[in-house]
Symmetry: C2
Subunit: 321 residues, 2 copies
């Protein structure tokens, strides 16, 4: 199967693939959104491409932490990294099932499978000393101080009087389950991996691998996965039609293409906000610099027009030159 | 690797592998218990056997449902089958990491990997009309009636004035991700699959595969997995030293060996209680009747002496003749 594929694409699904801001976000809404996403992904597969799918988990982790909090005192909480592992299972089940059903509706027979993925980070990643990634709900000052004391959480004032817990966002160094993923991909399977950026683990010299309360950026993890799998293309599917520079200014320019050199220059200029377009462009640079394939490319484009984005009709295409 | 293995063993871990009745059951206790379990499993791997690991999820699902309940009104609940998917991720991460660390401590390099597993059940399985598997906490009569009405749950009086939710326990028919599992096993990997008996799915003629609020017995799912993988041995690791008949009676007899014919006769006599030893013996019969390997065997024995049980020094060995 793998030999006949047109190309191998690592597809990173953004938050809008499963959760929409105008919904409560409950499970039936998530399944409904997931079915829409599956249609866009199935179109790529029907065109002959092989997909490895990654996804974010922000809203789901937020809700997981809310359940933890609501049940405090009644039942033990699940730590951040264990929550990420749970949500990989839950979201992988949902995305896998809806995509499998969409493929079966086209007469195909494959089963889209989720592999629980841990991602090694450096113990001395600078982010551990400077946590910046907000997780969970907004707290008032008094609550924030209480949790900072009882749980040891780092808290950050995100707007006056409003606090959120922040966790480190270390760089992904190695995808621990890469051999399993690689073999499944070589056999032609459609695999879901690295959900939520992967479960962050450090290597302790005495205790071995250990989960750590952190969040790995899913676009950076996807870039590492794409490089390790020698993918032809990384697609970052999101809500925007194209990447812009000078966003919101008179000289704003939307981009159909971008080179790695331009991407690096604009990243250095601060053109792309941290936590949204920034890591997507950084992931694109990471993948293209690591890839050995001369034609490797990154496409950032709208989820609902994934096939058009791959063909260059919408979205922004980033390549070496 | 696979060609050099001594044998392929599907190991079904019972509740005591992760949770102990004398503990609260919090995450650090679960990791500690999981490390003990990992030592027993690593001994089998060090002896040259290849393992595929399955596990129960009773306490974890119970606690998951408690969190749902505590957060009711605040955040949407996760349905039963989605809870099973989450717990496969969380427990797979824990068991995988502790076993990986134990193997690395022996100088090995493999990464134990978890595959999210859905298991097909028949839409017309008789258990859907007669749910019997208790899940979640005990309710007083008034609460039970309230949830029966608001959630449509089937409730059962398990002792006077004490009610629990009961869900169907349909028979496992097909492991949907079997091709992925089989390929990983053929490559020599140690895989965790079918957690909690697998996520139960039915095939709807219009909607395709759909999760369903049910619990598949983990020993029966393990038997199906062992048969599909053409395992040499299925080990059911639990708290007992050996299987007994006439349990608690003067004529009680503990068994070192059992044939399939004896197992079937004693099952028909009601020697083995439903929900504990019953499904273990039924799983043994299912595997041995489905297996094409003449030397296939089932070992039921104590987790902490897994290697001794495999060697026949403790536990009960069930074989065709």
């Amino acid at each position: 199967m793998a030999a006949q594929r047109k190309s191998l694409i690592v597809v990173a699904l953004g938050g809008n693939a499963i959760s929409r801001a105008d919904q409560e976000g409950n499970v039936s809404e998530q399944f409904e959104n997931s079915r829409h996403t599956a249609r866009a992904l199935a179109e790529l597969i029907q065109e002959g491409h092989q997909l490895v799918i990654t996804h974010g988990n922000g809203p789901q982790i937020g809700n997981f932490l809310l359940r933890n909090e609501a049940a405090a005192g009644l039942i033990y909480p699940l730590p951040m990294e264990v929550a990420v592992a749970h949500v990989q299972g839950g979201m992988g089940f949902m995305i896998g099932q809806t995509l499998t059903n969409e493929l079966h509706a086209h007469g195909r027979r494959e089963i889209v499978t989720t592999i629980i993925t841990t991602v090694l980070v450096d113990r001395d990643d600078p982010s551990f000393a400077n946590p910046t990634k907000p997780v969970g709900r907004v707290f008032a000052k008094g609550e924030a101080a209480k949790y900072a004391k009882s749980e040891g959480w780092a808290m950050k004032e995100i707007s006056p009087g409003q606090f959120r817990r922040v966790v480190p966002s270390p760089l992904p160094r190695h995808i621990m389950e890469i051999d399993t993923i690689r073999r499944a991909v070589a056999a032609g399977e459609t695999i879901i991996a690295c959900g939520g950026g992967g479960i962050p683990v450090i290597r302790d010299p005495h205790k071995g691998l250990m989960g750590t309360a952190a969040v790995i950026d899913k676009d950076l993890a996807s870039a590492l996965l794409a490089a390790e799998l020698e993918a032809d293309t990384m697609m970052i599917l999101t809500a925007v039609d194209r990447v812009s520079i000078n966003f919101g200014k008179p000289e704003e320019r939307t981009l159909e293409t971008m080179t790695v050199a331009e991407a690096k220059r604009w990243l250095a200029e601060g053109q792309f906000p941290a936590g949204s377009m920034g890591p997507k462009i950084q992931g694109a640079v990471d993948f293209l610099e690591a890839s050995k394939k001369p034609h490797a490319a990154v496409v950032i484009g709208p989820l609902e027009h994934a096939a058009d984005a791959l063909a260059g009709r919408v979205g922004t295409r980033i390549a070496r030159h």
